[in-house]
Amino acid sequence: MASKIKVKVKLNGDVAEVKSLMLHPMETGSRKDPDLGATIPAHYITELTFLNNGQNVMTVHCSTAVSRDPYFSFSFSGAKAGDTLAVRWVDNLGETDSVETVLG
């Protein structure tokens, strides 16, 4: 299955401006199903990692208070065209998704 993570990177000199968006329900665990009335179990990304050429450039720890279909942006220096930026998340149910982007 295709990754449900999108990454956009803008290079300004050696600074990479990273924006990423991913599909995830980010269920809080306190919401009720409008049809069934049952509580929907918590389901949320706990950790998101960005590696540039294998080197960690950002780790994000999330709670259920991060919005559905989460969006994050940040910048790091020391980037150059041709670098490979890898993004991966893991959620509280142990599911994961990842994607690689070549800077350029």
Binding site: G54, V57, M58, H61, S98, V99, E100
Partner: protein
């Protein structure tokens, strides 16, 4: 017609090796106790060992005065403080105040943005941890009850 630049997606097979890097080299583990805390001070103490942070004008916290939608509140943090190790966002009135924590390795700039949920009007605080201590900036974000929406 303007189609967006398409990001080429490589298979994730080759990635497996990368993720095998020992976790200790990456960052600290997910702070479950801090995220479970129901009071802001408790979350701070769990995360940093203290709930005291020095207010700093070197931190710029951007968030709306009135959230258009409590489910999606854009928040961004930027700071001129040096040697930043982490940036956390605490929403005082949320049932679990610690919303998110960015672990920042050397070389990564202390500027980031995300979208968070807010249950009600609350003080939103950015807590910046540097090698010389904890600093903070706060802002009140009003959350209102929407109309028909959209």
């Amino acid at each position: 017609m303007h189609l967006s630049r398409r990001i080429f997606l490589h298979g994730s097979v080759a990635l497996a090796a990368l993720w095998a890097v020992p976790r200790a080299l990456l960052a600290s583990a997910w702070p479950s106790k801090a995220f479970a805390a129901s009071a802001a001070s408790e979350a701070m103490t769990e995360l940093f060992g203290t709930d005291q942070a020095t207010p700093s004008s070197a931190i710029s916290l951007t968030a709306p005065e009135i959230a258009e939608n409590g489910a999606v509140v854009p928040v961004s943090v930027e700071t001129t403080l040096q040697n930043v190790q982490s940036v956390s966002i605490v929403v005082e009135k949320n049932p679990r105040p610690l919303a998110i924590s960015f672990e920042i390795p050397a070389g990564t700039l202390p500027e980031m943005a995300c979208r968070i949920k807010m249950g009600e009007t609350s003080q939103v605080t950015a807590v910046v941890k540097t090698d010389s201590g904890l600093f903070s900036a706060s802002k009140e974000v009003k959350v209102t009850i929407g109309g028909c929406g959209g």
